[in-house]
Amino acid sequence: MVRDEQLTESELGRIAESLRDDWPTAQAVDFEESVEYHGSLPDEKRFAHVLESADKPLLQPRAGVPRLDKQVELLTHLWEEGGADLLPTTIDSYTRDNEYAKAQEGLDEARESGEDTLNGFPAVNHGVDGCRELVERVPGPIEVRHGTPDARLLAMVTFAGGFQSFEGGPISYNIPYTKSRSLAETIEHWQFVDRLTGLYTEFGVRINREPFGPLTGTLVPPSIAIAIGVVEGLLAATQGVKSLTLGYGQVGNLVQDVAALRALRALGEEYLPDDVTVTTVFHEWMGGFPPDEARANGVISLGGATAAFARPDKVITKSPQEFRGVPTMEANAAGLRTTRQLIDMLIEQDVTIDGIDEEQAFIERSARSLLDSVVSLGDGDVAQGTLRAFETGALDVPFAPSQSAKGAVLPARDDKGRVRILEFGELALDDEIREIHRTHLDARAKTEGRACSFRMVADDVDAISDGRLIGRPKEGWT
């Protein structure tokens, strides 16, 4: 039975050993030698150092192609032409499914044909030396971004390969990404990743960990995203993680987004041990984008403006080509520069928007209720509490494909475009909190002259790609 306890060194060693046969490159992983290697990296490539010492929001894109030379070229372009402050390496889908042989086929094919036959960088296949070459050849600090439920081997190889930041977590890389993976198993797998991170940290290599805040990216109520981020943070902290970046995905309402980022930071600092440095990351809108670069630039700009007001430590940017999938590197760099222009024009204005404190208090109260229910359902054990909370629906994620989540929660926007909860299922929120959500949604329903309904939800899901924020009825409404 998985419990929120630190893995012993012998367990860690045993698991690492058991993974060594999964793919040949695992054989080259040598912890002590890797610690030494990390020691050779200059300050400007130490991810946690750069992130934690920044005095304004740092920008980071998403980017990954199969071949090493092309990945260097891509990241160098985003650094030089986009002005990225932090670099990513997005991993391919086969690796996310632990299908290293298929990833190898794709990589071989890419090398032969010159075509990108994988949708990311197969870091396990590139192995320790390949990763180190990447880390050395790119101009900045670099993070592994993926979506892998069982990322143990990926972590072993990329940490040995010199990466110092790793996205994901047992909930955030399971519930939104998979249909039938066991949550208990995923928690165990991430205990390994976090313990490995902790061990590196103890040996002086401060590896940064980043739970994936946006979850399903579709109208996730802030309190849910924050509660899950903090839970993942608690599980990581138990394993010795000291540099933790909690994430949140833009919903598009200025007041709610600023309030949510402040609540995320406040609760992160409150719930996590004092020796954990908490930073925050804001993801530009993760839902459907307008099929038009001009309108997409508007969505990205609203993200940049929000970041200027909320001042997260990091912003993950989108590109104007978002609607058609993987952007060209030029479009990716353009998204960075558009975001930068908004931040640089707005951040010194010191804008204060009304109503943020109130919204923040409401988000914190709701997130606290969810967090407390996790702790109490587990009789004090966060791992067990997480399992029970998802089983019972006390914790739930809207629009999650996973069978581990109840999927009973339905969100909808209120009359100002803030994301509220229409259907609660068994979510651990008391009647008073529920009533506040209902009141907000009723006000919208009244404005629109229709009942609160599933149709509202569906309209809201499409609204931003249709060019607005709130999914107002399309006809007969003024």
Partner: protein, 151 residues
Amino acid sequence: MPRTVILGVIGSDAHVVGITILDQALSAAGFDVVNLGVQTSQAEFVDAAKAHDADAVLVSSLYGHAEQDCRGFHDRLASDSLDLPTYIGGNLAVGQDDWDETRRRFERMGFTRVFDSETEPQEAIDALCLDLDVSATEREGSEPQSIRVTT
């Protein structure tokens, strides 16, 4: 007695929003919903229908490959002696297809009812009540509890 309906997105399709909303609407209307979720195979639909002694099967498809994904589906149901209403809804064809033609094509494949992606959940509920002979009394009793109506 509540009717049991099987719900799922067929094939490799991962569009979860539509069935999430439909699941909620059907549950609120008093149906027992077995939601198989995204990326559900024909075999999983058939097995679930048998296992739950289902009254209807609702298939969703939004990525344009419904025809391939559903080929042979009604033969499988028949060979397991399952004779129950089957609905399909979503974006059922890629491109500028004529809707009436699309509807007829899926009806010929054996689907009882065919819905486009603009369909309101209520339309499916009304159709189920008709096809499953849910009496007005039953419907009355299953009035949405958790779905509020602003008056």
